[in-house]
């Protein structure tokens, strides 16, 4: 693993970032890219954020979290509460005169006449955004604090995170006050802009792309610092790191909180672009999907999981239309092939190719040795 960012990488990353943040939305504004495509790519990039959050934990710290979709959904729910309140006079019950106090429609169906008090602050957009960071961050802190202090690790950590997200999914499914299993949908505006307008969708896409680039840069920086070195030391041998005088639990806790907030930001950006959020998004299989993206793209590389998330979802979008009966076989087959022949994922192909050429020049081979598997 390189500690310093090379010039080649810096230039490549900048070019890709520039394309995602400026050129692609520019093409959309000019009409060369359709509304459908920009919305789709906005969603893929949100999945990219989720994948980074898994990679930071799994690839760099050796914590296989099977509950990242929980934080992704929580972020969505926090912003969603604001968007539900912003529907206001466009709701069907207001139009028919049955909703003078402008509640979200699902509350009217259940006979409520007053907004529950914990909903009220969400009228304020900055408050909702603050909650996107705070609520999942706090949950991750509490869960991590208790878990890591009790030295829960390995598969036990994975099982607990999976249990956590399952419990949350069941809770939200039964929480009628949060929309129950229908969740939040039919948003009308965000920050006063019509959410269906093509300019708003472009704005949301740009915000997503920018968030992804910034988060990537932050994570790339973090993993090259001394902190990153300790992080990997914990991954490779926690006992050794402990005996060298590093409080492994604190490092893990910090990474877990940061990763959860990254996931949550992804979810908050996902909500207005996907147009719906409900408790099925928290089910364990959604978190497992994100782990698969990481494995497919190449974990412990940051860029690999992004490629995995975008690639897998783009393939899914295409195959569910082109082969509605066979797409699962196609996707599953591909995953098996990748695991069999590309253990380091798609991005690992680069490394494999480099190793292959390095073998031809024996003296250069030692310089590119990869770290041991976690």
């Amino acid at each position: 693993m390189q500690r310093h960012v090379s010039k080649v990488e810096l230039v490549t990353a900048s070019v890709i970032a520039l394309f995602l943040v400026v050129v692609f939305p520019g093409l959309h504004a000019a009409g060369a890219v359709s509304d459908f495509t920009i919305k789709l790519w906005g969603k893929y990039l949100c999945y990219g954020l989720l994948a980074i959050s898994v990679d930071l934990l799994w690839g760099y710290t050796g914590l296989l979290s099977l509950g990242q979709a929980l934080f992704f959904s929580l972020g969505g729910y926090m912003l969603g509460m604001n968007l539900m309140l912003m529907i206001g006079e466009d709701g069907q019950y207001f139009k028919s005169g049955n909703n003078p106090s402008l509640l979200p429609d699902f509350m009217v169906i259940l006979g409520r006449t007053e907004l529950p008090s914990f909903w009220k602050p969400f009228y304020n957009f900055p408050f909702a955004v603050a909650m996107v960071v705070l609520v999942p961050g706090l949950l991750a802190f509490l869960f991590g604090f208790l878990g890591f202090r009790s030295r829960i690790k390995g598969v036990y950590f994975s099982i607990l995170t999976q249990a956590l997200t399952y419990v949350a999914a069941v809770f939200f499914q039964n929480a009628l006050i949060m929309g129950s299993n229908n969740g939040f949908t039919d948003f009308k505006r965000i920050l006063g802009c019509d959410i269906r307008a093509s300019a708003t969708q472009r704005g949301l896409y740009i915000a997503t792309a920018l968030a992804l680039v910034l988060v990537y840069a932050f994570c790339r920086w973090l993993t090259t610092t001394k902190f990153g070195l300790v992080q990997r030391a914990v991954r490779d041998s926690e006992t050794r790191a402990l005996f060298s005088g590093y409080a492994a639990a604190n490092y893990k806790l910090f990474v877990f909180v940061v990763a959860s907030i990254i996931g949550s930001i992804g979810g908050a950006l996902y909500l207005p672009q996907a147009g719906i959020l409900n408790p099925t998004e928290m089910m364990p299989e959604k978190s497992l999907e994100a782990v698969v993206w990481c494995a497919v793209g190449g974990r412990g590389t940051l860029i690999g999981p992004i490629i995995g998330a975008i690639g897998t979802n783009a393939l899914k979008s295409w195959a569910t239309r082109a082969f509605p009966d066979l797409w699962l076989i196609i996707l599953g087959g591909l995953f098996i092939l990748i695991v069999l022949f590309l253990p380091k994922g798609i991005f690992g192909l680069l490394g494999q190719a480099r190793d292959f050429f390095a073998k031809r020049k024996p003296e250069a081979a030692s310089a590119t040795a990869e770290p041991a598997k976690p």
């Binding site: 459908f36 259940l110 039964n174 129950s180 409900n278 009966d325 066979l326």
Partner: protein, 425 residues
Amino acid sequence: MTLSRSLKFLALAGAITSTIFTAQAADDTVKVGVLHSLSGTMAISETSLRDVLLFTFDEINAKGGVMGKKIQPVVVDGASNWPLFAEKATQLLEQDKVAVTFGCWTSVSRKSVLPVFEKDKGLLFYPVQYEGEELSPNIFYTAEAVNQQATPAVDYYLAAGKKKFYLLGSDYVYPQTTNLVLLEYLLSKGVPLENIGGGFKKDESGKIISAGKYTPFGHTDYQQIVSEIKQFTAGGKACVISTLNGDTNVPFFKEYAAAGLTAETCPVVSFSISEDEFRGLPAKQLVGQLGCWTYFQSIKSDANKKFIADFQKWLKSSTVPGIVKEGRVTCSPMVLSYNGVYLWKAAVEKAKSFDVEKVVAELEKGISFDGPGGKVTSQKNHHLTKNVFIGETKADGQFKIVKEYKDVFGEPFLKGTFKPKTAAK
């Protein structure tokens, strides 16, 4: 390469070539979207609707198509994934530019695609019983509204002399809403509050916001609830109204039979079990219990006999990959899908255009179609007037029809329309 692998590759190659051929769209076709889950938890129910839609398209195409144009189905898989439903709907409308879409089963999938259909001015036909409280200008609900399933069932019970009603459901929006409507309906019929079982939840002001007993998805332990029902039936003349979903019906009815409760002592009417569900549920424990739909396979009419025979014949010769050919039945959501296609066809031919606005205008004026379940007529409020049937479950998973309500008007907004009968209190 092993045999199974090479078979898989062959299947893939076949699928690729077939799509390449079908992709050559000609001017004499019209694209129609089919948006159902073909994988995931809902696939077991929704695949049947995909099958019946493809059958209907073939039937129409064999007779010359719609206004001389052959229907070219665009089938996509929503994969029981609600955001994916929205994405697929956008794709159908913005990329494939389909004239109409038939699809969705769960309310959440419909709510997921609703904003898309409104934004892109598409047209969706929705075929499955639902809780109402919705009316989109871009959706036509061929489904049963609450007053075409739940309230007729209550009427039937009242006529049979039942005095006590126990409400039981899975904990989500459809049962909750349906039961709130039923509560108002029962009160309006003079049934006192203490004769309605399952419990109530009230908000801070004392207003009832939830009526009935609810269990989560996948719940298996019904011992306590059944013993509660048994106590409830003590005075006789009691019945259960169940909106339990899918798998949870198996442990419930097992426990129900074990507790000695029968269709004679305390009948259960279920709104989520049709013939198609009995392909996966044992019918034995449900014998004598009631179902209420706007179609049963056991309807004895020539139109229904022909529909069933033609569908079975089509299944035998179908080449859709993975289609189930054995033990197939027909049920209400399937027939409502079938009716939807014919109503759309008739509206297009009347409007002489595939334009959504013109087609909807024709549908709103009222179009009738003689389907397998009898005559259905489209209404101005985007629902259908149709016949409602009550049936008793038989051991083979079919229903014996015991009551028919003719031409029931579909009404989506029922909450607050039934006023309690104060005199009876």
